[in-house]
Amino acid sequence: MDSILSDVTDGVTSSQPWEFSCDLEVDYGTDEYANMVYSALAVDKELQPDKVKRQMSVSEGKLIVHFEAVEARFLRASYSSFLDILTLATKTLEEFGLGMKF
């Protein structure tokens, strides 16, 4: 799956070993919805860019996220809070997107 990552990492310093990583993929069915979530979540940058990197892309209706960190605990913290907010964005889409009725 890593092959479809479209984001380009700029100048990764070789001194920093980004040895911890993980990937996440959510299938929204359409690029339109995947892009909405992408745009909503791309606004908030990682708080410690020297410790955790997050790359996101959209492909074939899927949101693809790749994390890299210098320590496992940073990876866990970042991933965990990202998942909360990703779930919120997705639920908002589900409840107020197509098929919303009053």
């Binding site: 745009s39 908030d44 919120l88 908002t92 889409l93 009053f102």
Partner: protein
């Protein structure tokens, strides 16, 4: 002309609220949910954010239903940009970014403190008062001057509401509906006034010391703490009034619904020939309508926040905001001409 409608989200502290308002200040709906911690405990960012995550979506449905509007009728979607706790702020921001794209509506970022002021002004009709904004996170004496709300005084250590909250935790008073409310009720039973340091920081610690030495009852302490804190607030507010040459006072923020504070301020105002404007817990305490209304004022004056810039920030001072709506005075949609505004 079609009435302008805004949907607003507030979640900077332990309340999550969604409100629907029109430009004349009519509140069509304003539901909220409060994260209440057990006695002796405060609210922490992560747990508070989780509370907001669970309640925000049902609140949107409830707000739209009560207001009897559909998303198509909304002109803009507003959210609290700051100040406040980071993780809780993010909840509103993310929901608003999704809704904005789904419904193709513009976003307006709002300063929480300015929203308290505008809500207080529109609910009470106070035109150009000195504002005492006193809550769990902020204590500021504010007045409008040359395009901005200027801060004339503030507590630089902790907010008055924070001092009250901490004290309630020491006494393990209930946090339901709020620590401050329960202090206010207990204070009514106090009979003895104790001298406390005339400074916010350390006041709660001194009070606890007196309790340990059996010098007094918890009720006496609640009473003494309130009298001392509120006397400080009234004093600084009076100084700002003299400085700005304004006669009226508006109290906003969560501590602002304390009736003892309102009584003390009312006495000072009447002695100066002015009036006190205050609101009850529906508007004083954080809510979505105040964000919607203030966002709508900005939107009606041409302000929108692009999606990419719809960030949140823990620090965002009241005087950073250009209050353009007060310069042009477009909030007055009834065609009345107010004279002397923005003097």
């Amino acid at each position: 002309m079609k009435r302008m409608i805004a949907l607003g989200f507030e979640g900077s502290a332990n309340k999550i609220g969604v409100g629907v308002v029109t430009l004349d200040g009519t509140i069509l709906s304003n539901p909220r949910h409060t994260y209440i911690t057990p006695p002796g405990h405060g609210f922490l960012p992560r747990e508070t954010a989780h509370h907001h995550l669970q309640h925000v979506l049902p609140l949107i449905k409830s707000a739209l239903e009560t207001a009897q509007i559909t998303p198509e009728e909304i002109d803009c979607i507003c959210y609290t940009k700051g100040p406040g706790m980071g993780a809780p702020l993010q909840v509103s921001a993310v929901v608003v970014r999704i809704l904005s794209q789904l419904w193709k509506k513009p976003i307006v970022a709002v300063n929480h403190c300015v929203a308290h002021i505008e809500m207080g002004r529109v609910v009470t009709g106070a035109e150009d008062p000195v504002v005492l904004y006193v809550s769990g996170g902020n204590t500021q004496v504010i007045a409008y001057s040359e395009g901005r709300y200027r801060i004339f005084g503030e507590t630089i250590d902790i907010a008055v509401g924070n001092c009250l909250d901490r004290f309630a935790r020491v006494l393990t008073l209930s946090n339901d509906p709020s620590p401050g409310y329960n202090i206010e009720q207990l204070a009514k039973k106090g009979t003895q006034f104790l001298d406390l340091p005339y400074a916010v920081k350390g006041m709660d610690a001194t009070a606890v010391e007196k309790l340990k030495n059996n010098e007094c009852t918890p009720a006496d302490l609640c009473y003494s703490l309130q009298e001392t804190l509120f006397a400080m607030l009234v004093e600084i507010t009076e100084r700002a009034m003299a400085h700005c040459d304004k006669k009226d006072v508006l109290i906003v923020g969560g501590v602002g619904c304390n009736e003892r504070l309102q009584d003390m301020m009312r006495i000072m105002c009447s002695e100066r020939g002015g009036r006190l404007f205050a609101t009850d817990d529906r508007y004083c305490i954080d809510n979505g309508a105040m964000i919607a209304y203030t966002g709508l004022l900005a939107y009606a004056n041409g302000t929108v926040t692009p999606l990419e810039e719809s960030t949140f920030t823990q620090r965002f001072r009241t005087d950073e905001v250009q209050a353009i709506w007060r310069e042009k005075n477009v909030s007055d949609t009834n065609g009345k001409v107010e004279d002397g505004v923005c003097s």
